[in-house]
Symmetry: C2
Subunit: 349 residues, 2 copies
């Protein structure tokens, strides 16, 4: 009798949405965020060796589907992600994502995973990791303007990595603020619900903007931002979508992930194409200055980059043995004789 079951080489671990939630709970959200931020920081430290390309978009009138590949020469990763602002009206998610990690040496996938939840975690971990290098040391209060899907992840990442003790929430939709406040009850954070952006930023050393409208909006006006503040701007992340008044940009030292992409998608699309920006990896490696002075305004104009997803995929892969939260998929044809693919199919009859 011939053994027709798939060989070990043909199997790829798959982390479903349910398994991702199991993973988060097995590790703990804050510990997950701290450890993930460590992987992201490690990859920012070796930024120059990555194969970097802007994401590959397929645009339609309803939205966009993007592939975001990158490689460090040993491991290759990509994320599939869609953005469809009108989806929620039909009961679908605006953004869904999944990703794959593969070995460069033989091209075999080693991980296939949901990435909607993982992207939320990596975005928050990246924000807090950047703030560790840019925000005032004594920051204890953060304003979060925009209390949608990203809000609570941001709050916990800044608590875990930057020592934030109070979050001040504001959203034009009060139900979003109520939802976030409810979810953060018992987190150990002091949560203050505010009725205006102005009220939210009062006394905050860090301001996170994470609104979702796909349009030019002015979430922060110039008068709302005082000296010595760090702005973590993550909602301005595609062409035609920004959150900050241009006057704030002119007063800020601006830090970005990958200028080629940020100039198209980030807050700085409102500025001249040669407006000076600093790449975050250069601050992390000590090649560039982060915060120049106590009074400086630092702005992390974050749009999300493939390397952060790569770090998240690496981190998740390294947790598989620890959590066991995955199943194996028979994704790769593996005939005994590579030239005998047809024979393998034939014998399966």
């Amino acid at each position: 009798m011939q053994d027709l079951s798939p060989s070990r080489l043909a199997m790829v671990p798959f982390v479903s949405v349910a398994d991702m939630m199991r993973t988060v709970h097995a590790i703990g959200v804050e510990r997950f965020l701290i450890e993930l931020a460590g992987y992201i920081e490690d990859d920012f430290r070796r930024w120059p060796l990555f194969d970097k390309t802007p994401r590959i978009p397929s645009h339609s009138k309803e939205g966009v589907i993007e592939l975001m590949p990158t490689s460090d020469g040993e491991v290759y990763g990509f994320k599939y992600v869609n953005g469809h602002p009108k989806n929620t009206a039909a009961g679908y998610q605006t953004v869904t994502a999944f990703g794959v990690l593969a070995q460069v040496s033989n091209g075999y996938p080693v991980l296939f995973t949901e990435m909607t939840i993982l992207t939320a975690l990596r975005t928050a971990a990246t924000s807090a990791m950047a703030a560790k290098h840019l925000a005032p040391r004594d920051a204890r209060v953060m304003a979060i303007i925009g209390n949608g899907a990203q809000c609570e992840f941001q709050a916990l990442a800044f608590k875990a990595l930057c020592g934030i003790e109070e979050v001040r929430l504001f959203d034009i939709d009060r139900r979003a603020t109520q939802k976030a406040a409810r979810n953060l009850a018992g987190s150990g954070l002091k949560v203050t619900s505010c009725t205006s952006g102005q009220e939210a930023v009062a006394g905050a050393q860090i301001i996170t903007t994470c609104t979702a409208d796909k349009q030019y909006a002015t979430i922060l006006t110039d008068n709302m931002v005082g000296a010595g503040v760090h702005i973590n701007a993550i909602g301005g992340d595609c062409p035609g979508k920004t959150e900050l008044h241009a006057d704030i940009l002119h007063r800020s030292d601006i830090f970005v992930e990958y200028p080629e992409q940020t100039r198209i998608e980030g807050e700085i699309q409102a500025l001249a194409p040669d407006h000076p920006v600093t790449e975050l990896w250069e601050v992390i490696t000590g090649q560039a200055t982060g915060r120049r002075s106590e009074a400086a305004i630092t702005l992390f104009d974050s749009v999300g980059f493939a390397i952060e997803d790569f770090s998240a995929l690496r981190y998740l892969r390294d947790q598989l043995a620890r959590t066991g939260a995955f199943v194996e998929l028979d994704m790769l044809a593996d005939p005994d004789d590579p030239r005998d693919l047809f024979g393998m199919v034939q014998r399966a009859r």
Copy 2:
């Protein structure tokens, strides 16, 4: 009690290697090839409306990992495929592939599938579909030079779609020819094993070259190719890999899938960048001439294009209900309130 099971919207059908083999047997290989060729031909007929980009490669010294996306405006598809010539020495496959089909209107994946076997089928179906439009009408004998993983699929596709009755096999490795002859016994084809390329092409109206070496090779020399022959060249499919002597190219009418890609990867990389070629879709839609005369040599310089994978994904999706050969994967996070991703994770504790 809250229902924590994934919603219907979050589930994506997955076709494993085992399910793909089940699908092929449920439908029958030849019928699968005929129906798949119909889907491919349909997509070639509407070629201009596709969003076409050359594949996105990530090269390393060991091989390449590629993403091949395309869209017809309603459906989006991409294939992940690797090419690692030295893999077989370590017991791995040279080429493995998987793919995804998604709805453009909301960005949701609707199919995730193995594509190693599916690619072998689509390559053969594309070859035979092209030959239907280019080869002499009375072709009954095909030579197949290179008897590796693609060989038997080619033989059956040409039998099913073009009426080929005899295949004449040659490979520099006799065991490959023996393997192919063994697999094709009982197929209804007359199978002749030959000891040279010269012997294989004797009396053949169609010559298929599908060797696998990643180097410039001369599988066919000028004297081996007589008038009135159709050459189906599928082994020359990446930079530095060709199979035909340039003299043959100069005597042939050359047909390609997508010139931008074929000039880099196909046989015509040996020719001047402005050497005239005809796009196959123009022949199929009647906008260009295929076979000019009985004596003409037609050459389909095939490298494989994303649209063929797209057709294969479409075809497979349409068979799911018929075969039931799939499982559903919980790939997409689907919170009741899209803004409450964190709450969904929290409640799963």
